[in-house]
Subunit: 220 residues, 2 copies
DNA sequence: AATGTCAATATTGTTCAACAATATTTCCGT
DNA sequence: ACGGAAATATTGTTGAACAATATTGACATT
């Protein structure tokens, strides 16, 4: 189950591990990542670590300041707004041209089920996770490897923002039913309605997110 | 005028230089890029070069095979199809929500002018260049930094495919007038028509591209 | 106490040399 | 011509080194 990516180069594996730390919130936004400390921690050379840092910087998860080192990116309102702009473009676009027998719809439907169950059990983390799966599946409707990869990056960046919030998982809960509606609309071959519903969803989610972000103390 | 990006880290500057070689066709698809040869050529260490290679690999311009090295990516029909899928999503999406006073429209209009002039002078390279500017400006209509950056990557990848063709620039020429039409539709606040026109454009361009690619001998 | 200066220290940026692991080529016997 | 083993070259990764830049701390001045 735990695919470690053994064949991949060290830097890629490293990047993956650090990414996991980032989205799980074990590294806080703004925190400085010392090359010496991390190469020690992961027991790799500084050179290999630097390659990994570069990848994550390109993904927008780390920020690089010349001669000062790399820092965990600090999500801003601007970045959240931009990310939701991207999501509207990609997710609504994918839905609009969706075809009702597409295999990804099965994944969407399963994610809705998982989300509902998790919500009923009060498992907020599970709700969030099911939500991620749902929206990734929506992107898969477009059948584009490049869009899927790009969305992964955007999604990781958004999770960084969620990490700032004190009570992040509750945000997802109200959206389980909207996912259900969207899935149903696609299944019924009403792609335009599905896209419209997704736009409503994303606008609401964006507002909720920004509102929650507003009352986060420091952006330092 | 020649912004060398002096403040940037060496690896980034290197990546930029190599990228220029790639899209200008000085490095052919499939070609192997020896670490030793290139670190010699650019007078940098192997480590720095490897960092640059990693960035370009992430951009899809290079391919990395374990213990065998990096190669210039060989564009396939599949990649062209995927890229045009992305372009339809992004460019049509950007047009659909375009607002007639957006500053990017000025850039689009200027690009149309440049393209027309270049075409009339038989400057096919200029036509292609103007075309690039036009479509990048279309993306800018979305006001998303992340989409702009993503499109840059996609665009570079597509240029790699053009490099395979024997007579690449002629492909752009017929599209100058379509760009004009699209710009006009946006100016007249008919974003849906503009998007529809763009879809026609992209479908046609994709077919043309695939047809031209079909008669390229080796894909080795 | 607050501030500015300058040396001492730590960190990043980059290079180089080394070696293990893996590919590629060369050579040789059949 | 062919298969296979030895020789060679390349990548993967490490460690140390040093220059350039940033941070810290001590000290003197106001």
């Amino acid at each position: 189950m735990t695919e470690d990516g053994d064949g991949l180069p060290l830097a890629d594996r490293l990047a993956r591990r650090i990414r996991a730390l980032l989205i799980s919130g074990e590294l806080s936004p703004g925190q400085r990542l010392s090359e010496a400390a991390f190469s020690e921690r992961f027991d790799v050379s500084r050179n290999s670590l630097r390659e990994a840092f570069r990848l994550l910087t390109k993904d927008g998860l780390l920020r690089h300041e010349a001669n000062r080192g790399v820092f965990v990116a600090v999500p801003s309102m601007a970045s959240v707004i931009d990310i939701y702009r991207v999501r509207r473009m990609l997710e609504c676009g994918a839905l609009r041209q969706a075809w009702p027998q597409h295999p990804a719809i099965r994944v969407m439907r399963e994610a809705v089920g998982k989300g509902r169950q998790a919500r009923d059990e009060g498992d907020w983390r599970g709700v969030g996770s099911a939500n991620m799966i749902f929206h990734a599946a929506v992107i898969d409707l477009s059948d584009s490897a490049r869009l899927t990869e790009f969305y992964e990056r955007i999604s990781a960046e958004l999770r960084l923002s969620f990490g700032l919030l004190n009570d992040p998982e509750h945000l997802h809960a109200p959206f389980v039913d909207m996912n259900d509606t969207i899935a149903t609309l696609v299944e019924e071959d009403r792609p335009l309605d599905a896209a419209a519903q997704m736009e409503t969803y994303l606008n609401l989610a964006e507002r909720t997110m920004l509102k929650a972000l507003e009352r986060v103390p420091q952006h330092a």
